[in-house]
Subunit: 433 residues, 2 copies
């Protein structure tokens, strides 16, 4: 992290689309920024496009060209943030404070030329630094940068989080505050685990594993960027002043807990190919074909072969199911397999914790807890700091709750918003699929 | 004009907000551009924002800040053209042709720093030239440029016409086509003068006088720019392939006609201050006060004094009336005048023609024609190539028609869309004020 010395804090504050969805909400954001400035901080705002603007622009483009050129698409989408940033700057000025908006280009966000999913190479934040020194609240358009040809690029969905972290690094901010409609990172989703606790802090690695396992608080690339450049993120609520969760380098205190949190993900499906001859190269053939058809397989399970015949299962995002089916139907005769079936009603439940690395027996404890709760494990996968199991979709809440209790994560107080029984939630989740 | 030699034409084609108001209309514009390209031309498009986008953005800004900072306002408004330019580029690509959009910055439109009404200093059109050479149809955002600080500026309402002329100059285009919902410049407004003729060509000076006298086909600054750099404009319909009107340097042929056209303007009001002591400095006091209060006075009439008492009348835009009233009420006691009154129902009718310079008797002929038609002249003003009279609003159409006939402008065929009598039109115009 580029460092600076001063008594007051240098803060980057990022606000998402719902926080700037109307003139009234933009006024609320301005009020918050002005309060932070009045409290003696230096503040830089980063904004997403207003509400559903990005979707509306996408709709316009598709009405004109079903396969719009990427360069034009990025430029089109980038206008959304340029509207919200100017309106926020105007709202700050209306409160008697100086504000100045910056496009990605003016904020010095330099990216590669990969339109729609550009990666940030460098941040030249001199103009923002100058604006701060002149007493302005700089307002930066999230989600966008500029490529070596001078063309506008966008960073992909949720890219405004990444912009905020990049700007934080560029100006050496003390903290990157990411405001959203949740008030921090929880040990599990409080909507299904009523005893979930808000974490005061979580290390980058655990946050990344939780995100990749289905916890949707922060964009993964933003956390990766923050880890790389040691930017401290503060995930907090746009609708209260309560402290949220700090995402930062692991401290000895954090590592004491074996498990940091439990994530669940009901967005995957399981495909099982039955009666596969257990010969060399069969699995390779199946998964090369899937990859070639852009199916992102997640977990893969091969049963023990009986009489030279086996079953192969894999999970993939629901969005990829159609392509997965096409592929399997094509390779089925090639590999001499009998049939395949699809289970759309599954959930992946993951326990995550850097402490796992030095704590043997986590898997055994997890399996015992699930077994005692009569929850059948359909598949297992692991990383050094994560253990994931696939369970029946109806048992998602029960699985999250029993693991949450088993690893000592339960809070003393029950999360107020959750008054449903595990069965009611399970029923809801079934429907909501 | 920067020149280039080749057989095919290099064309800049500008489309206004109504021409790009919906995906369907954008498709029509793309079709037209592609047809021109297929006919062997090199084409550059310039676009305004879609339909009422600019007004909507203005509304958003005012909801947040009644006095928004000019820099932010310009940046906000400039997004409108950035949306339409990308959508048009996508529409061209959908037809299998290469297109590339350019912001004002990328098109090399360099302006001064006067936000909301910036003036173009220089055009660096190299990127557009390169895109043309590579076979692209460049699509340029109208209405915007970049100031010496790298901030976005806008050129004022109708500024896209100016962008088109500036780009034409920058790349040495053979012609700057300005598409709109009218099919050219007429000898009078065909809606009130059924025998009006479309002009094949008109010189810059006459076009400027007609525009300033109320003919709203083209933005005046665009015509001034075209005159300065000898850019040929072709004003034509976005909804037909018919040839429109060329605006270019005067030719001997054009100068043969004494009068080129007749314009009318019902957007002004007349204020008369009565019982003014006819002493030195009174007029100066009145008109300094009006100028100081940002009232744009147009025509000024002072009656012959009787017994040291006179009346002073002036006309000004309706939009300035409130400020004019305030001013007059304030100076009335200072100058010792008796009272004032306002006539909102007036029209200025102007005859325009470069040929007037060498043709004496134009005024006499105009006054006779009006007198024969029982039309009372309330005020007169002249320039070397224009004669304007103020008449009662109810007589607008009658005045335009009788002058049109008197100066030999009548066409043999009656304009089809106009089937109303002069009285009916007069009644309509009264209501429409």
């Amino acid at each position: 992290m580029r460092t600076r010395k001063s008594i007051m804090s240098l803060i980057v504050a990022k606000f998402g689309g719902t926080s700037v969805a109307s003139p009234e909400r933009i006024q609320m954001v301005a009020k918050r920024l002005v309060a932070s400035k009045q409290a003696g901080n230096e503040v830089v705002a980063v904004v997403s496009a207003m509400g559903k603007t990005t979707d509306e622009l996408l709709g316009l483009a598709r009405a004109i060209n079903p396969d719009p050129p990427a360069r034009e698409m990025d430029r089109l989408l980038s206008t959304g943030e340029q509207v919200s940033m100017t309106l926020l700057a105007m709202a700050i000025e209306a409160r008697g404070f100086k504000a100045m908006s910056f496009t990605g280009r003016q904020a010095g966000i330099e990216t590669d030329g990969m339109h729609a999913k550009a990666k940030i190479h460098e941040v030249h934040a001199e103009r923002i630094r100058e604006a701060l020194d002149a007493g302005f609240i700089p307002v930066v358009a999230g989600f966008q940068g500029i490529d070596p040809h001078g063309d506008i690029t966008t960073l992909g969905r949720g890219g405004s989080d990444t912009t905020a972290v990049a700007i934080s690094w560029g100006i050496g901010a003390d903290v990157c505050e990411i405001y959203s409609d949740v008030d921090g990172v929880y040990t599990a989703d409080p909507r299904i685990a009523p005893r979930a606790r808000k974490l005061d802090a979580i290390c980058y690695d655990d946050m990344l594993e939780l995100s990749s396992a289905g916890a949707g608080v922060l964009q993964m690339r933003a956390v990766e960027f923050a880890r790389k450049y040691q930017v401290i993120i503060h995930s907090r609520s746009a609708f209260s002043d309560a402290t949220g969760t700090y995402i930062k380098e692991a401290t000895p205190e954090m590592e004491e807990a074996v498990i940091t949190g439990i994530a669940h993900d009901t967005s995957e499906v399981k495909v099982t190919i039955r009666g596969v001859p257990d010969t060399t190269g069969v699995a390779a053939k199946v998964f090369s074909a899937l990859a070639g058809n852009m199916v992102n397989t997640d977990m893969i399970i091969q049963n023990i072969s009986e009489a030279g015949i086996t079953d192969i299962s894999f999970t993939c995002p629901s969005a990829d199911l159609k392509r997965a089916q096409e592929t399997v139907e094509r390779v089925l005769p090639e590999i001499g397999a009998r049939e395949y079936d699809i289970d759309e009603d599954i959930a992946k439940v993951s326990i995550v914790g850097t402490g796992m690395k030095s704590s043997p027996g986590v898997a055994a404890k997890a399996f015992s807890a699930l077994g005692e709760s009569q929850i059948n494990i359909l598949a297992i996968s692991t990383s050094p700091i994560r253990l994931s199991v696939v369970v029946d979709g109806a048992q998602t809440a029960a699985a999250v709750r029993c693991l949450h209790t088993a690893f000592g994560l339960d809070s003393d107080c029950i999360f107020e918003e959750t008054q449903l029984s595990a069965e009611e939630i399970a029923a809801k989740m079934q429907k909501g699929r």
